[in-house]
């Protein structure tokens, strides 16, 4: 039995209801909105239900939830939908490539100007540092709610206040945060998240929250199942941004996953995962050859990055996989600037990330394995 500690990549296992919801959808639902027969209506209901549940989880209206094929999809939709020639954007060195790459392309093409704010020794960016980079041309601040490498939870509320005050739009990448971190939407204009990490749903699902006042251009155009005579993509939200057949099966699974999440409660899951994280950090502190990166104590999610002296991160990950049946991820985690600032580009980092179904035994097994490896 594999000990799975790679929940920051995708959560595993999923709540059992997820598989049955997908199975059920396969049997009773087809494609929504396009036809009026029962199978199509069932699909429409599944999509509606997923949208409702996401809205309930976030505390927003259904019209603000655009269903996407993942967090990357949602981030691209936001970035490419909002930015125009001459705009300035402030982002952070903590960002994932799904934020950095679209921004850097626009910057390289000379369409936008980009400022990248670094993080402090503990792994946090600050609203005041971001404020220093704002110019009259700044259109957008793009920031992650929690670092996918260091696990540090960023001061989104403070940054939101700054954005509001400065009349700048705020895009939050909530990929690592939702499911365990409670986020207030106050002052957030755009928030992107995948369905397969903390939300415990299947891959290929996600959404973009778009505040009512925010207007996005659509970057994907096509069929919406309604308003077929219109020559252009309909303006009505969220359909304006939802061209193409949605991932009905995935959304069925995601709705079931959110049910589980709401029943067990986000705070209970967070408490459970953080307790495991605390145990891990205590144990790691006793291993002299293991170095932990980022704040160890508070304002964090259950993601810990470390290195073992004498080994590259991929070597540690391979040994854990092969000799101990423990699944973690080694490498750069698609966040190149984090490693650049930490000076860990050469070795990479070993990332351990807990989920709602991990146990104390898993932590102990990992600590024992790391002790053995570090002594070799």
């Amino acid at each position: 039995m594999v000990i799975y500690l790679d929940n920051a990549a995708t959560s595993y296992p999923k709540p059992t209801a997820v598989a049955s919801a997908i199975q059920n959808a396969l049997e009773v639902a087809t494609s929504p909105g396009r036809s009026l027969h029962k199978l199509a209506r069932n699909a429409t209901l599944i999509v509606q239900e997923a949208r409702q549940k996401i809205a309930a989880l976030l505390g927003c209206t259904e019209e603000s939830i655009v269903l996407t094929y993942g967090c990357t999809d949602a981030l691209n939709m936001a970035i490419k939908g909002i930015l125009r020639e001459g705009d300035h954007v402030v982002t952070t060195a903590l960002e994932h490539n799904s934020v950095l790459r679209p921004l850097r392309r626009l910057s390289k093409q000379g369409i936008i100007k980009l400022s990248i704010v670094d993080f402090d020794e503990q792994g946090y960016v600050s609203a005041s540092k971001i404020a220093n980079h704002l110019t009259p041309q700044t259109k957008l601040i793009a920031v992650t709610a929690a670092s996918n490498v260091l696990g540090t939870v960023q001061p989104v509320a403070e940054i939101a206040e700054l954005a509001q005050k400065s009349k700048v739009l705020l895009l939050v990448d909530a990929a690592q945060a939702l499911g365990t971190v409670k986020l207030s939407l106050e002052g957030i204009d755009l928030l992107a998240c995948g369905g397969h990490k903390g939300l415990l749903g299947p891959t290929g699902t996600g959404f973009l929250y778009v505040a009512t006042k925010t207007k996005l251009n659509c970057w994907r155009e096509g069929g919406t199942g309604s308003d077929s005579l219109s020559a252009l993509q309909p303006e009505e939200m969220p359909y304006h941004l939802e061209a193409g057949t949605p991932n009905v099966l995935g959304l069925a699974g995601l709705a079931a996953a959110i049910d589980y999440l709401l029943e067990r409660t986000v705070s209970d899951i967070a408490k459970h995962e953080l307790r495991l994280t605390e145990l891990l950090l205590e144990g790691l502190a006793k291993l002299p050859k293991v170095k932990v990166y980022g704040n160890r104590f508070d304002r964090r999610i259950a993601t810990v990055s470390l290195s073992v002296h004498g080994y590259s991160s991929e070597e540690v990950a391979a040994i854990l996989d092969e000799s101990f049946q423990i699944a973690v991820r080694g490498g750069l985690h698609c966040a190149p600037l984090v490693h650049q600032q930490l000076g860990t580009t050469e070795q990479g980092l070993v990332r351990v990330s807990f989920g709602p179904f991990n146990k104390v035994d898993d932590v102990e097994a990992l600590l024992a394995a790391l002790l053995e490896i570090s002594q070799c």
Binding site: S312, E314, E315, A318, I319, E322, S323, G331, L332, H333, C334, P336, T345, G348, I373, C376
Partner: protein, 339 residues
């Protein structure tokens, strides 16, 4: 005077045989030592077209045995397929040559072998041979297995539906690191010439349709130890052979070893498809003469003088540092870990 006159005078070939040769198309997969020798012989013999497929570049350590290449090729790191084409064209300007610089894989082999009459094995690993065997049996193309390392070599001719295929003889892949490779055990040119001589003679017999003259054996030679063994395979076709009897071409459908470039790391990970256990200590002994070796119970690190570094784990998965190119990594893996 016809350039082939002496060959035509040979009664086994004659005018008719030469005509057949001139119209034939042969593919050589892997143009290292055996591939070079066999390609040269076929080019001189006057086959119509040759397709040379190889993923590597010429290195100085190839020159003592890979007869198509010279010092300039090694200095310029020319792809072997390209260097071979240039040299062969000088030997025979009438020859049609196609040089393909590529790794043959489960997904591209059938396509790469299209339109050929015969396939010659010049590869350095068993996994690719299993892929060739599957593709040739499926497409009904004869092929000739050939391998050499140290002073020892093997060859066998496979005619679909008539002779045993490679899987009748070797059901499974040998585990990685179990067999010696030219990089770990060395190799001398005479075994290459000997095995290639047999392979090319068989090739000519097939191309001129003299199937009755084939040796019908698994030939094993050790020219240093003076062992010449010929195992008759006339009755070795297995009724249960997964490939030629049951027609399950698993090496064309299942993914090969998983080879992936690690995100931004100038490192490639190779994970063999099947579950293996290798003895790191034994491998360390084999590799020690060729570079710096570091070993503990979890891994073996092997630093090559060329700058590449391999980390090999007991299940044969390996990290190849110093390249982001999967083809280069696959080739280094085949040379030092083997497959």
């Amino acid at each position: 005077m016809n350039r082939y006159s002496r060959q035509i005078l040979f009664e086994g070939i004659g005018q008719e045989g030469q005509k057949y040769l001139s119209k034939s198309h042969v593919t050589i997969v892997g143009c290292g030592a055996i591939g070079s020798a066999s390609a040269e012989a076929l080019a001189r013999a006057g086959v119509g077209s040759l397709r040379i497929i190889d993923r590597d570049v010429v290195e100085p350590s190839n020159l003592h045995r890979q007869s198509l290449y010279d010092e300039t090729d090694a200095k310029n790191h020319l792809p072997k397929a390209e260097a071979a084409k240039r040299r062969l064209q000088m030997l025979n300007s009438e020859l049609q040559i196609e040089a393909i610089v590529r790794d043959v894989s489960s997904t591209n082999t059938e396509h790469l072998l299209e339109g050929t009459d015969l396939v010659l094995d010049g590869t350095d690993n068993f996994e690719t041979r299993f892929i060739i065997n599957d593709a040739c049996i499926k497409r009904s193309i004869p092929w000739i297995y050939a391998a050499a390392v140290s002073s020892y070599g093997l060859t066998m001719t496979v005619i679909p539906e008539k002779t045993p295929c490679l899987r009748c003889i070797f059901e499974q892949l040998p585990p990685p690191a179990s067999a010696p490779t030219c990089e770990t055990a060395g190799v001398i040119l005479p075994i290459i010439s000997s095995i290639s001589a047999i392979q090319v003679t068989e090739a000519i017999k097939i191309l001129i349709r003299r199937y009755e003259l084939l040796h019908k054996s698994l030939v094993q030679l050790d020219i240093w130890k003076n062992r010449y063994v010929k195992i008759d395979v006339t009755n070795a076709r297995s009724k249960d052979c997964i490939c030629c009897s049951r027609k399950i071409f698993d090496y064309l459908s299942q993914p090969q070893s998983l080879v992936a470039t690690l995100c931004g790391r100038n490192t490639v990970q190779v994970v063999p498809n099947a579950g293996f256990k290798i003895d790191l200590k034994q491998l360390a002994e084999k590799l020690r003469p060729h570079g710096e070796v570091q070993i503990n119970r979890f891994l073996l690190r092997f630093k090559l003088p060329e700058g590449y570094e391999l980390t090999i784990f007991p299940d044969a998965r390996s990290l190849i540092h110093g390249t982001a190119d999967t083809t280069t990594a696959r080739s280094i893996y085949a040379k030092f870990v083997g497959a």
